[in-house]
Each structure stands twice: as C-alpha cells, then as structure tokens.
C-alpha cells in the first residue's frame, strides 16, 4: 500500500516516523511545501525570545520514506487517487493523509495589506521559520512592539520580545490574556503577572487599523481611537485550518477538514490529522493532540488497530514564556461537572493561582499560574487513577517537611550515623561509658567512620553532653531522660 502524506510539518513527520517504526518496509511519500528540513514549530516563540538557536529546532529526517520538499500540492484527484503537484508531476496513492496544518489568521485591518498577500513592513505573523526570522530581525531595530492577540502565542511572543528589551503592548480582544484557556479569575492573575513584567496589556482593544508611514508600521489604532505607536507588530490572532485542497476535491469541510472518530474524511481513502482536521471533538491548535492522531492513524493503517478516543478539548497548555508560568489541562472550574470536586488556591497578591478538579478520585483537571513546581508534579498525576489522596486538599498544600532535630531535641532513637547505624542513644551510652572526646566516641561507636557526613552532628552531640552533663554516673537511658526533661524545663 502506498501512503502519500501531504504536509511535512510536525504532525506529518510524526505520522511518517511512526508508520515506518511499525513497518520499516512501508511505502510512504512525504510532500512538503517548505524547502527547509523539518523543524519544531512549537519552539518558534523560543527563537523569538532568544532562548534557543535555529539549529536546535531541526527535527530528524524521515528516514525510509521518500521525501519531496519544496513542492506544493495543487489538486487532489480523489477519483483517480493522485495528488497533482506544482511542478507538473503527480503522486498516486492508495491512502492519502492530509496533514497540511493551518495558516495564521490575519485580521482584515486597514493599512495591513501591502498588496499581493504581503503584510506591510514591520508587521509579522508567527507560523514558520521565515516568520520567526522576520520578527527577530525586526526586533533588532525596534524599541516598541505591539502584539495583537492574547492567546498562548501572543503571550509567549510578548514575553520573548520583552526579554529582548523592547517595550511591549499586548492588545487583547477581551478582558485579559489566555481567556480562551483560563477562567476569568485565573486570566486576571496571569494578566497581572504580565504587567509586573512591564508588558502592557490593553483589554477590549478592538484593533481597528494600522497606521503606516514610509511603507512601515507606525502605530495601531484601537476601537476607541487610541493610537498605540509601534515599530514592530506581531499578529497572533489564531490560525485557520488549511482546507482549500479538500474543498476543491469535494471532501466535507466545515471549520476544518471533517473526519470521523477513525480520522477518515468523507472519502475512505483519505484521512486528515493535525491542525487541518476537524474531529468529532473539534479542531486542535496544539501539537500533542496532532501527534496522538498521527500515532493512532499509523497504527490503524499499518496494524489495523482501532483508533482510541482522541480528545482535542482540554489538551495540556504549557506556556513557554519567560517570567510567566501557566499550565492548564483537562477540566477547569467553569467546565466541571456538578459532582466534581474543585479546589482552588487563589493567591493573586503573590501572582499565584492553583486549581485542581477531582472526579471520582481521579485528577481530571489542573490549572496553575505562578507555581511551576506544583504544576510539574500535578501534570503527571492527571487522568491517573488510584493516586489522588482522599482529601484532595493535600494535592495543593501537601504537608510540612520533616524538620531535622537539634542535638538537644532529637529523640534518642534518631540515627546519627547512617553508615554504621549509630543512634543518639548509642552516643550517649558511649559518653556514659567513659568516653569524653569526639575521638573516643568515634572509636567506641564507629560513628563518622563511613562517609564522615555525620561528623558535625557527633561533634554537636558531644558539645551538648559536655555542656549539660559533664559527668553523670547513671545508666544511659536514665541520664538521657533526665537531660531531656532538664532541657525541656529550661
């Protein structure tokens, strides 16, 4: 069976890689429009932030597949089962996989279009390596930047540009940042954090037009007429599934290319995955659901395995923004069922908010702002049965750490020297047996003779013994009890 994959992005590559892993002899053709080697699109905002270099984005080649780069599919001939390409050639398929992704949504703003589908100078979207290069180059000569859109990409780019030292303004269409992914209260905490980083956030911006001077962006005009001067404009207003080929081929298309639970389009020889596909659960804009679809489709085509339920909603969002930690996954307070337990720790003053949703003893949702280590711990408990404590409050607060005791207050059974199993009582017994220096205690008990890590503690015990009881002729346990009472009474 020949499988032709249109689209050599992260999801198309993942599908090819997984197909060849399951069947190294599989006949796979991968068609890619960009002339670049495959790269990690998720990290483009990191490139903008200057936290990674371009070489680190390059993904492994799909070895074992026939890869054609720099060719654009111009028509799907479903009846003849072949893809026509812009160089005049064609590729026949037994099964076709559409992984053509999405394109950046560009708002129809006055002044933005420089003609021929190009954006006016200084304005950029962020979808490809070329886009990221444009933003980075623009940032070098810019003092002020505006980011239109307050979703994940917009916030990551804003933080990245702020890290590069620009004055940054985020123009939000509604009240705060990340408002599609976070409930209003949580969005407010994230927005305040962003402002702490000196990123301005304009709510309800209602961007109306772009002012242009000398062919270059000069300012953004808001709904109320406010003019926000800027040298660099990044449009992060979401993406649109690329459906043109599918539409022309007569496949069913709504928002994206419609697929069933098995990822089949309206033609059984054509499947669609990733950002271009509209599954029964909707269209995803994140890579993880796309990868899961790629793996499931490969298993279906190669091994005839049933496709598991592949949720798109509630996929983990883990923001990559310098200075702002946001993780949200699964159910949140506003989407919780009636019987769910929703526990939240709202600490907006410290720019912190943590929320967990527990359903029948399993963690089904988590949202963390400004609490990266708790977020990390919780994220591996998500959807995992059998591990949530009976009182889910412990997920948020835990319990205080055990405090190491001082020589005075530690119980006599406390191990002093782990290497040789020497307890405080053993040291006291040695003292009572006539040892009166550290070295004598060491010789008698062997404490400190392993790793030597307890030397300070043994010295402390001996100091304490010298202080509280220079010479007590009693049995060790009694002496110890007397001393501890004495100390407690002080």
């Amino acid at each position: 069976m020949r499988i032709v994959v249109v689209g050599a992005g992260m999801v198309g590559h993942r599908f090819v890689e997984e197909t060849l892993r399951l069947d190294p002899a599989a006949d796979v053709v991968l068609l890619g429009e960009e002339s670049y080697e495959p790269y990690n699109r998720v990290l483009l905002s990191e490139l903008v932030a200057g936290r990674t270099d371009l070489a680190a984005l390059t993904l492994p080649e799909a070895s074992g597949a026939r890869v054609r780069r720099g060719v654009r599919a111009v028509e799907l001939d479903v009846a003849a089962r072949r893809v026509l390409l812009d160089d005049g050639s064609c590729e026949p398929w037994d099964h076709l996989v559409l992984a053509v992704g999405a394109r950046a949504r560009v708002l129809p703003l006055a002044g933005l279009d420089a003609g021929g589908g190009r954006l006016v100078g200084g304005a950029h979207v962020l979808r490809t390596v070329d886009d990221a290069r444009g933003v980075v180059a623009g940032a070098l000569n810019a003092r002020r930047a505006c980011v239109v859109g307050a979703g994940a990409i917009g916030v990551e780019v804003a933080c990245g540009l702020r890290r590069r030292g620009l004055d940054v303004t985020v123009l939000a269409s509604r009240d705060g940042v990340l408002d599609r992914d976070l409930d209003p209260r949580v969005s407010a905490v994230a927005t305040r954090t962003l402002r702490d980083l000196d990123v301005a956030v304009v709510p309800q911006a209602g961007v109306r037009a772009v002012d242009v001077a000398h062919g270059h962006v000069d300012a953004v005009v808001l709904g109320d007429g406010t003019r926000v001067p800027t040298d660099l404009l990044v449009l992060a207003t979401g993406s649109v599934p690329r459906t043109e080929l599918a539409v022309e081929a007569g496949l069913t298309v709504r928002h994206g290319i419609v697929v069933d639970a098995d990822l089949r389009t309206s033609d059984p020889t054509v499947s669609a995955i990733g950002d271009c596909a509209e599954t029964p659960d909707g269209v995803s804009g994140l890579v993880a659901p796309g990868w899961a679809q790629a793996d499931a489709l490969a298993a279906r085509l190669v091994r005839d395995r049933p496709v598991p339920t592949l949720p798109v909603q509630g996929a983990t969002l883990r923001l990559k923004a310098v200075g702002l930690d946001v993780v949200t996954a699964g159910t949140r307070a506003s989407t919780a069922h009636e019987d769910d337990r929703v526990l939240a720790l709202d600490d907006a003053g410290a720019r912190r908010y943590v929320e967990v949703v527990v359903r029948q003893g399993t963690l089904v949702g988590m949202t963390c702002v400004g609490s990266p280590e708790l977020a990390a711990r919780l994220s591996v408990q998500l959807d995992r049965p059998g591990v949530v404590p009976p009182d889910p409050l412990q997920l948020l607060v835990g319990a205080p750490e055990d405090q190491p005791g001082s020589p005075t207050t530690m119980p006599s059974s406390t191990t002093v020297c782990r290497c040789n199993g020497v307890t405080k009582a053993d040291v006291v017994a040695a003292w009572d047996g006539g040892c009166c220096t550290v070295d004598e205690v060491v010789t008698t008990t062997r404490a400190t003779t392993g790793c030597g890590g307890c030397r300070t503690l043994v010295c402390g015990l001996v100091d304490w013994l010298q202080e509280v009881d220079p010479a007590v002729p009693a049995t060790s346990q009694e002496a110890l009890a007397v001393r501890e009472r004495g100390v407690a009474a002080r």
């Binding site: 992260m10 790269y39 990690n40 998720v42 990290l43 990191e46 936290r51 990674t52 270099d53 070489a55 680190a56 984005l57 390059t58 993904l59 492994p60 080649e61 983990t316 883990r318 923001l319 990559k320 930690d325 990266p372 280590e373 977020a375 990390a376 711990r377 994220s379 591996v380 408990q381 995992r384 049965p385 059998g386 591990v387 949530v388 404590p389 009976p390 009182d391 412990q394 319990a399 750490e401 055990d402 782990r418 290497c419 040789n420 199993g421 062997r446 003779t449 392993g450 790793c451 030597g452 890590g453």
Partner: protein
Amino acid sequence: MPHDQVAQVPTTDSHCPYCALQCAQRLGGHPVAAEPRDFPTNRGGLCQKGWTSGELLRTPDRLTQPLRRTADGLVPTTWDDALDDIAARVQTLRADHGPDAVAVFGGGGLTNEKAYQLGKFARLALRTRLVDYNGRFCMASAAAAANRSLGVDRGLPFPLTDLDDADAVLLLGSNLADTMPPSVQHLAGPRSRGGLVVVDPRRSATARLCDDGAGTHLQPLPGTDLVLLLGLLHVVLGEGLADVAYLRDRVDGVEEVRRSVAAWWPERVETVTGVAAGQLRDVARRLAAASPHRGGRGAYVLTGRGVEQHVDGTDTVSAAISLALALGLPGARRGGYGAITGQGNGQGGREHGQKADQLPGYRSIEDPADRAHVAAVWGVDPELLPRSGVPAVQLLSSLGTQDGPRGLFVHGSNVAVSAPRAGAVRDRLAALDLLVVCDVVPSETALLADYVLPVTQWAEEEGTMTSLEGRVLRRRRHLDPPALVRDELWIWAELARRLDAPGTWSTDASAVFDELARASAGGRADYAGLSHTRLDTGEALHWPCPDPDHPGTPRLFADRFATPSGRARMVPVRPVGPDDDVRADAPLHLVTGRLLAHYQSGAQTRRVPALCDAAGGPHVELHPSLAARLGLDGAELVRVTSARGSMVAPARITRDVRPDTVFVPFHFAGDSLVNALTNDATDPVSGMPEFKVCAVRVERVADDAGPSPARVLQEVES
C-alpha cells in the same frame, strides 16, 4: 599458604567482601575482625557492612561440607562422590542432549581469577555456549552504551578522587549514600559549591545530600529518566552551552542527536517527567557552567542501576553519555561520564569471559582473531570454542524447557531471590535434572540444588578484584577455610579432569591470574602487564596495562576514544517508556533498591546480627497521602501485587517516596520477595531486565485472604 604460617601473621591487608567500592580493610584479631585502612577510594572509612564483615566468617549455618539431595533432603556427602556423580550426570546430559544441555550462571562477586576460570570451564570443560552471569542484572546496559559510544566499558574511566575537585556531579539513579557510603566523601567538593544533582524518584539518602543548598534533587516519575536526559540535552544544545570545538574534533553523530532532541523541549519534558521546566534549565546551565570549556572546575555525569535497569536502559545511558559529550567532558582532565559499578567485582567480572558473547579481556567470542588468541593461550584449536550464548534472563527462562538446558552450575549468585519474576525462575530451577550450586551459605538458590558445594569466602582466599574505577586490587587470605571447604579453582580443576577437558587447570590464583593476563593481552581490558607480585607492591594500577613497565591507565580517552576511528559516537535514541505501565488495576509504580545495612539478595548480610538489628526485615515505603487512601495508619502489613506475583511486608509511611510510587528493598525472600513482582522484560540491546519500574496495586493485608499476618511477621522478625 600453610596453616602455621598464617597463624604467625597478625594482620592481613585486603578489601571489603561487598560492593565495588572495595574499601581497604585490615583483617586481624581474635575473633577475626575488619578495620578500615586509608586508601584513595574509602579514605579510611567503612560502612556498617564492612565493619561487621568479620561476622561472615562465623555464620552459624556456614556450609562446611558438600551436600547431595536425597529423598530426605540435602545430606552430607564426600567431595569425591559428589564430583564423580556430577561429572557422570553432566556426561549423560551431554550425550543425550548435546553440550548446551548444561549451562553456567556466574556472579559479579567472584574474583577475576574465578570469573576467568569459570568462563574457561564453561567453554572447554562443558563445551557449552550457555554461560552468563548476574552482572547482566547490573552492568549490561551501561556496558553496551559505553561500548557503542566510547569504544570500551570501564565503569569509571577516571579515579573516583577526581570528583573531589568538580563543580558539579550529576548522579542519575544511584543511591551511593546507602550502597557505598564511604564514597560520599568524594562529593564533598561539589556539594560545598552547590553542584550535586541527584535524579531519583525517591528522596533517598543520596538525594538528601542535596539539602541545604548543596545541590538539586530532581524527582521524576519512575521510567522517565531518558526523557529527562533528552530535555537536558535539548537545553544544552539549544542554548548554545555545548563545547563546540570538542564536538567538532572528537565526536561523531552530533547532528543526528541534535535533531533527535529537538522535539524534547523542557515544557514537554515536564509533562512527561513531572520535573519543572525551569528546574531542568537550571540544571543544564549549572552543568555547563561547571564544564571546563566554560571555565568550570569540572563536571561529571554518573549513572546507576536506577536509570539502567529499564527496557530502554542502554538508550538512557547513551543519552547520559551524549550529554557528557555535548559538555566536552569524557577525556577532559576535569570531567567525564561513568557508571557506578555495584557488585564487588562487577567490573572485573564482566571483562574476563562470564558473559555469553565474550572471551577474556573483553574479546568477542564471534571474532576469529579473538578466538584464535584465546584458544592459543588455552592450548586448544579455536574450532573447539563454542559460539555466543544467550543473556541471563533468556537463559534462566529456558532452563528445563523442551529445548533448554537440563543442568545448571551456579557460582556466586542467588538467582532465586535476585532474578526478575523470581517465582517463574524458581519453577525453572525446579524443572532441571541437575542443579549444582557453589556457595558460602545455604542461600535460597542453594536450598533448591541437587548438589551444594561449599566454597571459600573473601578472607579465606587469594585473588584480585577490579574496583569501580578499574583499579586492580589484591584480595588476600587471612585465615584457613573450614576443613572441607574448597576454592572454586579446585572444583573446576577436579571436574575438568573428570570430564577429560583439554587445557591446564591451575588451582593457584597467582598462576591463573598470569594466564588471564596472557589471554587479555591486546584486548580492550588488557591486564598483560599485571601480576600478583606487581600488585603486591601497592602500586595503583588501572587497566589497560599492556606490559610490566606500563604504569597503568587511571584516565582513559585523553587523546582518543577506544573506537576504531578514535572519535566518540553520539547515538540518537527514542524513549519507549515502561514495559509494564500503570493502569486502573495496578495504578502505582513499584521501584526497588538497596538498604545501607544489606547487600544484594541478603544471603550474606541477613546472617550478620548487627546488620539485622539495623534493618531486620523488609518494608514497603509509601507516601502519607497514599497511606491515607489505603486507610493505613502505621506499620500494618500490606500486600503489593503486580501482574507476575505478590509480596507482603509492613508498610513504612514516609514522604521520601512519591505519592504515586512505592519502594521495596530487594534483600528479602519468602513472602517478602519483591523480585516475585519485578518485570523480566529486557532491553533489546543489553538483555538487562526492567527491575526498576513496574505497575502494582497495594492493599491492606487485613482486606484480603493472603498468608496470615502472624506468619509473615514471624518471618520478618526471624
């Protein structure tokens, strides 16, 4: 040495009978006791195991005569009768089923001389392909990864003392504060500079060494170490922290690895491992800052069983090596990658022919030139040497099956306790026609044998051990063994004679060592320049040491790697995750490990009263929140069950384990045998089983119909 001469020697300098640190000991006194000696590795320290090792000489149930199984159980017999009958039964099995009807299982605690002679015994006297050893359970993944990237497998390719000056040490899956406590002294330098990084799902004694600003403890979900390492590599390569000149001049495969980690950005790693992205970045930057190319005082990447005993263990070590290479560490005077060897002679034991595919000196049993060299030393036709056998888990699971071996010799190993899926291993041992176990004490495996042959232990024998840093050390005889106890060299010589084996079979350890040196000459682990006499001068000698004037090689890779090209090879890898992952009916991870007071299967340490006082029985460590979920309020008995078996032990409630994970030490047998649960799925490259993670459920014993708590408690207390 005659008995009367020994009696005149007041003390004998030797090394500890337990782990690969091989702390220097002085044996003396009445009754014989061990005291520490100053030595670079242990610096005058001994742990409780070493201090009390003299007790091993006085265990009440020491094996003191050969035993034969009869209808009445194991009964004493004579050496002649035992060896005659064993040889006759081996001949019969071979005649009926061919030479592979008899197999050999060795151990990483045997001296170099015994390890060498055991491999030779298998190939020349038994003519079997089927020889492997318990090192397959410890070092196989690290060995495979080191070989494919660096060209040679020497646990630490630098002296342990090099760690003293480092700015950072990344310790992955090793609890050396419990397993080899005196070694912790070498972490003092990096700890004083805040540079110790411990990766362990448990807050182990070693992880606690990071407290108070001494370093960072990363606590990933069990089975996700490889992802964590790929994330560190991603940051090092992505943030421009790599040693570019070193990579250009000394390393191949960089581009493939760079691409292979492009999809493992820190936030993605966080969702898999549970380690915060920011922490991961900090650790990567700290390691880079400690590396020589950025002006640091040195950085080391060290792996232990915790990250190696997985179905992707070899790949995990490869990722650790790639990280070290990216930072320009291996071969740099102030940095490197190393695997922390576990068993006493885990290093030497894997070099000299106990492995299914190797001949002495790390020679390949499939390579014609290697076969010819060893055959010449042994004085036989190379055609006589069998080919490669199969790795340990495969060997054990084939015992007594239709096409598997019918007889087995076990030396220095307690597989009934230490092998994964131990319940099945016990069944396989029972299916054998002939099981011969050589041991010091009646271990759980010995008690299943048809013949139990009593052998010497450390203070009763001469030989050499190769420590975790590749230094060859002398083990010396301080006292005579009990009258009827014999050295394995003698047993193999006697059996070889009865089996009409070709070659010579010396019973003198020094002579066997000289033969080993010749057999290893020109091999990767070259001992040709070493002898007991030279080692007795006290010279610090690390292999390779190709001739008597060679000073040994404390540090490898200074000029070139041991690969054909002389360049190191980065290997791109892909995580596969645990073979037996958590699910609704087994929602918890099980990890296993060691306690300070015990060693391996506990056959030795469970017989030392002071160690039993310190840690008498097994336990199941679980987090307070899990305990609350299970309704436990103290040290109640709990049952832990995996798809392969179950065990019972008292609960120990501690915050040191993750709430989704339970920890059980593996030193105990009977109803508390945790290896009844562990997974025997193996790494496809190394054959190493996945001891370190499987899925289990935990229940209060009161809730089920298991063995009575009273009985278990009795066993625990006994």
